[in-house]
């Protein structure tokens, strides 16, 4: 096994006494792509937010590149968040900024780069997701698929150690899903470490190093795609796969 980039150990989290994560342990090695599936309410999104350092954990810990980051104070934590790229289901592009300004924002506001340098780098990453010609468009003027690709560029430009995707295609019209998955597959090929919550099973089959099944705040099964789809060991997984397909 190669070195671990992102690690969650025995992470528990509850909201108002309701346990959402019950001791989740997960290790993502450099260049690995883990796809998480599971019914809604199983804790997938919460796990991702804990990995993105957006939610404090109640118990357990989160390690990024060997350093334990959970438990840090907000002030010390903020800069570390830029080391993990997060892509949301609803894109969450800054509505008051053009595509270019969205991608520049982290470089200028967090990394304190000069505007010209940030702009050059942002354009390079917009190019990478095929949207250089949309640099001056506002999010309202872009299709969902384009918005999500800008959101990916916005996270990538920070050169994160890992990328997290929270159902990146489930808010998209069917015909726009492909362009986003293409970008993600390209990332995986380039060796990006990724954790993806998604029910795009064909994508998972092509790209994932392993697939994880979550249910009621636990990871109940983890296996390489071939094994996961052909002979899932857990009854719950079998039932879920039957429903999704």
């Amino acid at each position: 096994m190669n070195e671990s980039i992102l690690r969650a150990e025995a992470v528990s989290k509850s909201y108002d006494g309701l346990a959402v994560l019950r001791g989740v342990t997960l290790e993502v090695g450099r260049g690995e792509v883990k796809v998480i599936i599971g019914p809604s309410g199983s804790g997938k999104s919460t796990l991702l937010r804990c990995l993105a350092l957006l939610e404090p954990v109640d118990a357990g810990g989160v390690w990024l590149d060997g350093a334990r980051l959970s438990g840090l104070r907000e002030k010390e934590l903020a800069p570390h968040r830029s080391e993990v790229g997060m892509v949301f289901q609803r894109f969450n592009l800054f509505q008051n900024m053009t595509a270019l300004a969205n991608v520049m924002c982290g470089l200028v506001e967090v990394r304190r780069l000069k505007k010209t340098e940030a702009q050059a780098r942002a354009l390079e990453f917009l190019e990478r997701v095929g949207l250089r010609d949309k640099a001056d468009s506002y999010p309202d003027e872009l299709s969902g698929g384009q918005q999500q690709r800008v959101a990916i560029a916005r996270a990538l430009v920070m050169r994160p150690k890992a990328m997290l995707f929270d159902e990146p295609t489930s808010a998209l019209d069917v015909e726009l899903v492909r362009e986003v998955l293409d970008v993600m597959e390209g990332l995986a090929r380039d060796g990006m470490t990724m954790v993806v919550v998604s029910h795009e099973l064909r994508f998972a089959h092509h790209v994932a190093s392993s697939i994880l099944m979550m249910d009621e705040g636990r990871i109940i099964e983890e296996a390489p795609p071939e094994k996961f789809f052909s002979s899932p060991s857990h009854e719950r997984t079998r039932r879920f796969l039957a429903l999704v397909e």
Binding site: L54, R81, F94, Q95, C105, E109, V110, E141, S143
Partner: protein, 243 residues
């Protein structure tokens, strides 16, 4: 039969110095008050949305106090009462304009803070989440992302507040600040030409509010995140995309 409307008296009033000065004074007082109230209200709104209970309580008390007290009462209190409380206020520098400014700003901040709070709350929480995920601090997220988006929501009710304040400045005539209404009352009492004197004052109010409405429309366009020119061009392209 309608009594005659003396156009000559009307024009004379309209172009007279006291009217012009009165209107300018009303406008100055309104702008200064709204500006100060906005600044104070911004921090009140942040306090109302903060996690700290004492801070939220403080804002609640402020808003309760200054929304409950009638503006006229507050004005009289600040002008007549404060000098009795602190002798410093008996000095020469304490002018009716300043008293009116203090009273109206304290009063207005309570209303504005509710408007700003609603504006901040109207911004999709996903915007803050995305900012945090990028590693931005809360202050920067507020400055670069949330406030610009909240402003669009805040503009229309703020324009309403501007108009309300403009009219409230006429209350200041009771503390001998001769703004527009004060000027018209004096003129009317000189020759009992009420109709002409008040009509001339109304024209000024209409003029100021007209200019404001033009400014409001411009400001709203400025804070809409797609230029209309661009939008017209982009529409067919969007249809093409969704084919």
């Amino acid at each position: 039969m309608l009594a005659s409307f003396d156009k000559h008296i009307f024009w004379e009033a309209l172009s007279s110095r006291p009217y012009w000065h009165g209107a300018l004074l009303a406008l100055e007082l309104t702008c200064a008050t709204l500006g100060a109230a906005f600044a104070l209200a911004f921090f009140l709104a942040l306090g109302a949305l903060s996690k700290s209970r004492p801070l939220r309580g403080l804002v609640l008390v402020y808003n309760w106090l200054f929304r409950a007290i009638p503006t006229l009462l507050l004005l009289l209190f600040v002008w007549n009462g404060l000098p009795q409380l602190w002798s410093a206020f008996t000095a020469d520098w304490y002018k009716p304009f300043l008293a009116a400014f203090i009273a109206l700003a304290l009063n207005e901040a309570a209303y504005m803070s509710e408007i700003i709070r609603a504006g901040l709350l109207s911004v999709d929480p996903g915007q803050e989440l995305a900012g945090r995920a990028l590693g931005m601090t809360r202050g920067r997220i507020l400055r670069r992302v949330i406030v610009p988006q909240a402003i669009r929501i805040i503009i229309p009710p703020t324009a309403n507040e501007f108009i309300t304040l403009l009219k409230l400045t006429s209350l200041a005539s009771v503390i001998s600040l001769y703004e527009l209404l004060g000027a018209s009352t004096i003129r009317a009492s000189q020759n009992f030409a009420y109709l002409e004197a008040y009509s001339a004052a109304a024209v000024y109010y209409l003029g100021i509010v007209s200019v404001l409405m033009v400014l409001q429309a411009r400001l709203e366009r400025r804070f809409t995140w797609r230029s209309t020119a661009r939008r017209r061009r982009a529409l067919p392209a969007v249809a093409h995309d969704a084919r």
